[in-house]
């Protein structure tokens, strides 16, 4: 127990230092920020505009009103932003495998996966966070959500779980590179699929697909079930239960992904062989 605590302190200390270094790097190249400050919010403003235009043409999407869709969309974008900050490296794992970039992580006394993600922490992800929060707040206002302690706890737990689900999926996809030994950039596709499955109501898909997206690839828990439960759109409101399930699913996914990664790492071949 005491060792575990000491190890936790160690990881936190390194994390704090790594964040400091990431900020220093951003300051070193301020011109890069400008591009992302435009690019990332633009993406979500446009996504949100699409919803608005579609709802104006069709009235609603599968029973969800404009305000409810904003709530769902905002929740999804926030967890997306968090996953961009902490887990975006997973998209490029193939490159690290092929180029032998895991060598340096393997020769240091910290978890490989931890180093892979945290020494490459992506401060730019904050540029996704801002539009996410704005749209989410807009949705809250439109739906007349009463912001109390339960609600805040629900949102917090949901976001942690949702970020873990996303991160776990990136790890699972990235780890396939250990076996295929090719550098596939999944980023664009995962992004697009996640957009489609987390930013619109899951209930618009047929039951078979809902089943897959609930139990097999559990992206339904990222935003749809929590939002439905918080807003009561698909029937009952359920207090903290759905948020806790999301957190549990997130932990399960990240553990499975970690095991898959570690298994792949045993087959890691470095570069130049």
């Amino acid at each position: 127990m005491k060792n575990l605590f000491r190890e936790l302190i160690h990881y936190l200390d390194v994390t704090a230092h790594v964040i400091k270094m990431a900020v220093m790097t951003v300051i070193e190249y301020p011109s890069n920020i400008a591009g992302w400050l435009i690019s990332n919010p633009l993406q979500f403003i446009m996504g949100f505009a699409i919803i608005k235009f579609v709802v104006e043409s069709f009235g609603q999407i599968n029973g969800w009103t404009y305000g409810q869709l904003a709530f769902l969309y905002g929740l999804s974008v926030i967890s997306h932003a968090l996953s961009m900050i902490f887990f975006v490296q997973g998209w490029f794992m193939g490159y690290y495998v092929i180029e032998g970039e895991f060598d340096r992580y393997l020769t240091r006394p910290l978890g490989v996966l931890y180093q892979f993600f945290f020494t490459n922490i992506n401060i730019f992800g904050v540029t996704d966070l801002i539009p996410g929060i704005l749209v989410f707040l807009y949705g809250c206002v439109k739906c007349g959500v009463s912001v109390n302690l339960t609600f805040l706890v629900q949102v917090m737990i949901t976001l942690i779980g949702a970020t873990l689900i996303r991160g776990g999926i990136y790890i699972l996809l990235g780890s396939t590179s250990f076996y295929t030994r090719s550098a596939v950039d999944f980023g664009q596709y995962t992004q697009e699929i996640m957009d489609k499955t987390t930013m619109y109501p899951l209930s618009m898909y047929p039951e078979s697909i809902q089943f897959i997206l609930t139990y097999l690839i559990p992206v339904g828990w990222i935003s749809f079930y929590p939002a439905a439960s918080m807003l009561g759109t698909e029937g009952v409101r359920s207090g903290l239960t759905v948020s806790l399930v999301t957190l549990g699913v997130g932990i399960a996914v990240i553990l499975i992904a970690g095991a898959f990664f570690n298994r792949g790492l045993k087959q890691y071949e470095s570069a130049g062989n």
């Binding site: 220093m24 790097t25 340096r104 978890g111 045993k266 130049g272």
Partner: protein
């Protein structure tokens, strides 16, 4: 310090046939093949040794050193460092090793060199006074004081190598692994690197394991060499003893005043070109002085020189066997 027992590594190779037809075929029926890179090798390294791994490209020396440093998982066998298995206790064992791998840098490209060291200080949980002391010592050996505030991206290759050497030693490991450290370096950088290895070995008694193609590295640094070929150890031992055993001869080069060169009954004339002839003789049978005396009885000698079998000869012989 290091015990390697029955270490093996197989690679799974995906074969791709050339041309459009091959590409299409590969799409439907990828071809897998298992290639053994290291086959059942064992050796022991004592604390404070400097050991050089040599062998042709693809012989398995890089694979071996990468298994020893915990990067590759062995297919079979084990690597013990200070009695602990590196595959099973990676996080713990790597605290005791430092790694410099060829042209791959562990420095942060965008920030000043010192920041990379600071990060390592946190990763290895180095106490401030130890950290300061190590940096002082490194400055004395390598003179990094003048580059520590320079952004890494603005540094020359030689300066980056210095940075990487310090990074590998910042946590004062007992074992240092270097894979092709001098590749692509100019003469002065090579000199600094060799001096560094000698110094840390002398002062800190650090065990050093390196792979190299540069015979100068071997000659300058290694008392012991391990020659690897086709994934197996061909030779392992004291450098001069191996030289004596594999090439127990010297060559006497004699220049005469004309093209005729007399034979010597206990020497082999390996070459005869113009006025110059080369006589190879066994060190245990003859001395150079005897050969010179014998030859000068037969013909007037203009000039002589003696060639020892060099390390490159040894390697050539070892590779061919």
């Amino acid at each position: 310090m290091i015990d390697v027992k029955n270490l093996s590594k197989d690679y799974v190779l995906k074969r791709k046939e050339p041309g459009l037809r091959g590409a299409i075929k590969g799409l439907f029926r990828p071809d897998h093949r298992i290639v053994p890179a290291v086959r059942d090798i064992s050796f022991h390294i004592d604390p404070g040794e400097i050991v050089g791994f040599i062998g042709p490209n693809g012989a398995g020396k890089s694979t071996t050193i990468k298994m020893m440093s915990g990067i590759l998982t062995p297919t079979g066998g084990s690597v013990l460092i200070a009695g602990r298995d590196i595959t099973k206790h990676r996080k713990e064992v790597v605290r005791n090793i430092g790694v410099v791998f060829g042209q791959r840098s562990q420095l942060n490209w965008d920030l000043r060199l010192g920041e990379s060291f600071e990060l390592l200080k946190h990763i290895y949980q180095i106490r401030q006074e130890d950290y300061d002391r190590t940096l002082d010592e490194m400055d004395r050996i390598l003179g990094i004081g003048e580059i520590i505030d320079k952004p890494v991206r603005q540094m020359s290759l030689g300066q980056r190598v210095k940075g990487d050497l310090v990074a590998s030693m910042i946590h004062s490991p007992n074992v240092l692994f270097l894979d092709e450290p001098t590749i692509g370096l100019d003469v002065s950088a090579k000199y600094a690197l060799r001096k560094f290895i000698k110094e840390i070995n002398r002062v800190r008694k650090t065990t050093v394991i390196l792979t190299t193609h540069d015979l100068g590295d071997i000659q300058e640094l290694c008392e012991r060499i391990i020659i690897i070929n086709h994934g197996q150890i061909v030779e392992d031992g004291n450098l001069s003893q191996i030289v004596d055993r594999i090439a127990p001869y010297k060559t006497l080069v004699v220049e005469y005043y004309d093209e005729f060169a007399p034979e010597h009954d206990r020497c082999e004339m390996t070459e005869h070109k113009g006025n110059v002839a080369r006589y190879r003789f066994m060190k245990k049978d003859l001395t150079a002085a005897e050969v010179i005396a014998d030859l000068s009885k037969k013909k007037t000698i203009k000039d002589i020189s003696i060639e020892e079998a060099g390390i490159d000869d040894i390697i050539k012989i070892a590779y061919e066997s």
